[in-house]
Subunit: 334 residues, 2 copies
DNA sequence: TTGTAAGCGTTATCAA
DNA sequence: TTGATAACGCTTACAA
């Protein structure tokens, strides 16, 4: 494989000029430029990217840290990230943690060692202190968790108000006894959705009963199991807010298994609007997250950091939308 | 950041020795080794990976080319790939093509320029000639498409016999009029599944009627639409083989929309066993693909190529399994 | 067992 | 506008 020296020799110029033709063609005289380009063409020369990366200490690569790739929501965000990354000449490295903190730390090392130019964290159980410090020294964006007081840039939805909207929808339909199946309460996102639930009830002077709050794990099975607990209650809830669609589906299955109907006997509202929620029967009424947009925005923010541009805004909150389908019934809301 | 020279100076050795301590600790005397390690520790030294990659012309990175990341099956394969890659110290770069051939070619360039050590193609519409030639010069694995006569290593399932098993299942249940909704027929995988369908019918001396063959696009909507065509037939089929689960769900939806029941009026068997197929109602009877295993095997094959080890076998065919659930009814098969 | 020193191919500074 | 040349930090013959 020909290198820059070969090209320089053939074109009768210095390597500096060849380099210029490649990087800043406008800084070299037309005549020499064509001469060099001809030599490049003739030798079928391609710059050694590894040498360039080494010399420039940049890799044009960013890392996306994700708890699990085989999950409905992350691939969509990654799609958005990938879109913007590609447009800007960046490559996307996959950082699957499988929930193992050690893995997360090893990816952080890659960032510190400049193996990647920046990092996007799609949700995390890392210590916020660590993320904040990391964000002080390196380009980092935290997506999907909004964390009070975090100095690193974040892209998220307003989980509290989105959850409130979901529960208000149930209340508006006349439900008085509304249960919630939360996500794992050690992540802030789950606590926020629970907060929104509380707010919606309190706004209507409905007491919050602890028997109506069950913690799930975001899995289908946990939705099923927690719903069974609700159904075993003397006064079981007539409506359920499940903190994600997968649990909502599990809950609905449990309702059906109990010989009841959704939405007639129990209304269920979900969260996420995963692709399957429209196919499921009854089609899920749910809160739609703009996954692709979140991915795009995150990458845009990261790029600004990499380029050293100032961020006018650090915390980005994107809009969610209540999608009314079948699982809560309806009364022609607009 | 301290570099190797700093360490060498502090430990009073040459950089060569420092390098040895890092690469082949056993080749340096215990006493010097500890001396060097102490200096490394003291300076908090970390090797410059970029310099190493450049020097060694390897990146410890492989690229996974995928038509779309936001799809049910690819993330699972990627998970398998990632698993093995990580164990071996390799990183996984995402190569989303979005079906654009130009993108595919740009990823191929990355491979040729040694920006990655190898590449796994998860399905492809590239010319087989190109893949074969690529495979001659670089570490490449083609996953999920089995292509007759291809010289590059492949990991796939036997689409023909798997499809045959699916259709045989329907025939065994007594169906005589079986329709198929195929995938896009410009990809070999779809043609193979159609072949399997044909074989199953012919084996039982059932004629293949062209009205019973409809081409879908692997999407839910196409499943729905093609099923509607079947239902409009004078003699509509009593059983359907859908070439993937998503289309099977669309088909079932169409059957229901037509006022008929699944499996009582129309039986439907799918293909893939995506996560959602167990949740869907009726739960899908389908052919399970070992996605994670395919990913793992692909990465193992790629690693062998990268290390220059000979491949005892080039074409790997993994087992599929008929999963009997509800969408075809059943009679207690074992 | 360790040291010397020559690369690897590019970029960037400085001078012409 | 171009050229000479010194880095960048590591690996690896080869020599000692």
């Amino acid at each position: 494989m020909a290198n820059m020296i070969d090209v320089a020799r053939l074109a009768n110029v210095s390597t500096a000029t060849v380099s210029r033709v490649i990087q800043n063609p406008e800084t070299v005289k037309e005549k020499t430029r064509t001469k060099v380009l001809k030599a490049i063409d003739e030798l079928n020369y391609q710059p050694n990217i590894l040498a360039r990366y080494f010399r420039r200490t940049e890799t044009k690569t960013i890392l996306v840290m994700v708890p699990s790739i085989a999950n409905n929501v992350f691939p969509q965000m990654i799609e958005g990230i990938d879109l913007v990354a590609n447009q800007s000449g960046y490559k996307v490295l996959l950082g699957n943690t499988n929930q193992e903190p050690d893995k997360a730390y090893s990816y952080i090392e890659e960032l510190k060692q400049k193996q990647v130019d920046g990092m996007i964290l799609l949700t995390t159980r890392l210590d916020y202190q660590i993320i904040s410090e990391l964000g002080d020294d390196y380009p980092v964006v935290l997506t999907s968790d909004y964390i009070e007081g975090l100095t690193a840039p974040t892209v998220a939805i307003d989980n509290i108000s989105s959850a409130r909207v979901a529960v208000e929808h149930l209340l508006q339909l006349g439900h008085q006894r509304v249960g919630i199946i939360t996500g794992p309460l050690d992540i802030p996102l789950s606590r926020d959705r629970l907060k929104g639930y509380r707010q919606a009830l309190l706004e209507r002077d409905i007491g919050v009963e602890s028997v109506l709050i069950q913690e799930g794990s975001h899995s289908y099975e946990s939705g099923y199991n927690q719903m069974q607990k609700f159904l075993a209650l003397d006064k079981s809830p007539t409506a359920i807010f499940a903190a994600n669609d997968t649990m909502a589906m599990g809950a609905i299955k449990a309702v059906k298994a109990h010989g009841l109907r959704v939405p007639e006997d129990v209304a269920v509202v979900g969260f996420d609007n995963i692709q399957f929620s429209a196919i499921f029967e009854p089609a899920l009424t749910t809160i739609a997250q703009p996954f692709i947009e979140m991915g795009k925005r995150s990458m845009e923010l990261l790029l600004k950091q990499i380029k050293g541009e100032p961020l006018e805004k650090k915390q980005h909150v994107l809009d969610t939308k209540l999608i009314i389908r079948e699982s809560c019934g309806s009364q022609n809301q607009d």
